[in-house]
Symmetry: C2
Subunit: 355 residues, 2 copies
């Protein structure tokens, strides 16, 4: 079941990139995660395999019985290959921590549309996540809150009247909510203003991270912006505050782009042109360089300065050129050099077809 | 006269790149220079303007009267703009030293085919040069020796039975001959073997220099290889020895290319592809990057790994993208940034037409 289901995922575009709004392309995708634990059971950071199996058995049956996830796919993490785990990470369906070997109770459940996933026995008993294209935190909240309510009716969550939801890590206590938006900020990077913007934001209780969240490197001008604190405000207040700040970052990015267009049009066109030229004709292409180039081309499309590719093709390449995806396509484990060669080939062929 | 004649040069391809032998493309061009001084007259490094004018008057009339240069063009260096001087340098018709301000007696004479030029009152009274495409030192020697013989019949050159021809700089005494070949060595550079080859050669009394001779930087994998000593051997012996060594370098380059093709084909194709991609789509292109890319593409054509451009187009770009040529085309002085922009534009348009 595992293998077939994963291969099914491979065939369709990731939900959070499909049908993205071309007018709101600086914000690539939005995501809300809720951390929940079952009351009366030891939290996963300290629990035995049998306790985790018990948690899995309870949560899985409730999710299935109540049709929390439409046409649910269930993946036992230990039974997945390294490539498949990395594949799910690349699609932002689970966390980096969940990729590591762990208890047999660790399980990922995904709905058919690939928009909602629940990690069972990650750092907390349940981590429910909803992801959508664009800047859509409020609509995501409406849906995930409804899912959470339906879960709450069947599961008694660890909750304290003063503190709120209890979690393994104190930084998640309260709402247990982490909302984040992935932003494409090549304008700020090229203008050399990104650091100043990041410094300003971090004073406001907002965190800026790389593509794969905590501890991951920032590549391809892609940044995840999320709330630092989960306590002392309601979910909607946190979301509203985050959204306001993200709107400001987006405005900074737009201004940086316009300023570059006004004062350094050649510089901008040169970056866009080189990104395309290298992608179209190279035979060795690293993941980092591909992401960087795609980020620049995405900006080029936004600014109507680049017409050789549409946003859908860029989105497709954004996902299909990632390491595990490449290995899934070729049905085998590839070395770094083999991946860089295959990535270049896929990109070359795609770009030659599109031109 | 000066201006019209220079503009005429602009319209035709440089002689030493036109009709180059596609089977001998590692050796781009060969050149022989002869240093001669008129006996009884102070050498230019120490002579007055009036003495230099006298030298010019004597030599110029002899060159014209005896039709030494076919349809001769004559350029008084002081009357040329900086751009025009640089333009003549880029076409390898005169030396870097000759570009500097100097006595009014400094004059450049060129034949119509642009293959033969005579600098009057450079370091020596006369520096006669013949340049041709490919590895063609022996045929060049036949022609330049004939020119030198015809000059000798009309001019008494400073000559000493023991030392040979006397020159301003002792390093040129004897034959007064400097023979050189411009080589395109991207294979050795990419394989990391160039330094070893250069070290080996320099022990054999052979000098390796950059694109514009003494003191100039090596760019675009282009190297000028020439004889160090001008004394103790006949011209033909020097030429034969130089030719043998150059043939060895060419063989090293060929081996390096084959080895790369055998063991690192992707790496090679990647370099070729990127060179083309950047040239085709960039909007800012430095002289150095253009030369580098053209050098790689030339190798790509040689190896039949690259078919999007022919050798003639590469040769044309090789010359037309140089700083003074760009300024000649645009009929005005350009800043570095303006040149980089114009260079990118010319290259882009050329490559888009060719594809």
């Amino acid at each position: 079941m595992n293998k077939k289901a994963i291969d099914k995922l491979l065939l369709h575009p990731v939900s959070w990139l499909a049908n993205s709004d071309p007018n709101e392309s600086i914000a690539i995708s939005s995501r809300i995660k809720l951390a929940r634990n079952l009351s009366g059971l030891t939290f996963p950071i300290n629990s035995s395999e049998s306790e985790q199996n018990k948690v899995l058995s309870i949560t899985s049956s409730i999710i299935r019985k109540n049709k929390i996830l439409n046409n649910v796919m269930e993946f036992n993490i230990n039974s997945l290959s390294d490539i498949d785990r990395c594949f799910l990470l690349e699609r932002h369906l689970m966390s980096r921590d969940f990729c590591k070997e762990g208890s047999g109770g660790r399980c990922l459940m995904i709905n058919e549309a690939e928009s909602c996933s629940i990690m069972i026995n990650e750092e907390d008993h349940m981590r429910t996540q909803l992801i959508q294209p664009g800047l859509s935190l409020q609509s995501i909240w409406t849906v995930i809150d409804e899912i959470d309510n339906r879960l709450s009716k069947n599961i008694s969550f660890a909750y304290n009247k003063t503190l709120g939801y209890l979690t393994s890590c104190p930084t998640n206590v309260g709402t247990g909510m982490r909302a984040s938006v992935m932003l494409n900020l090549p304008g700020l990077v090229l203008a050399g203003h990104l650091d100043a913007v990041v410094r300003g934001i971090s004073k406001l209780g907002i965190v800026v991270r790389g593509l794969y969240g905590e501890g991951s490197e920032c590549v391809g001008n892609l940044y995840q912006v999320s709330n630092q604190s989960t306590l002392g405000e309601s979910e909607l207040q946190i979301i509203q505050r985050l959204k306001n700040i993200i709107q400001q970052i987006i405005n900074h990015e737009k201004n940086a782009r316009l300023k570059l267009l006004e004062t350094k049009q050649n510089f901008l066109q040169d970056h866009i042109g080189r990104a395309y030229g290298v992608m179209r004709y190279s035979y060795i292409l690293s993941s980092k360089e591909a992401l960087n180039s795609l980020s620049i081309l995405r900006m080029g499309v936004d600014m109507k300065m680049f017409t050789l590719l549409d946003i859908d093709s860029i989105n497709e390449l954004f996902i299909s050129t990632q390491p595990a995806h490449l290995q899934k396509y070729s049905l085998k484990k590839l070395t770094l050099a083999e991946r860089d060669t295959l990535r270049a080939k896929i990109v070359r062929e795609k770009l030659q077809k599109s031109s």
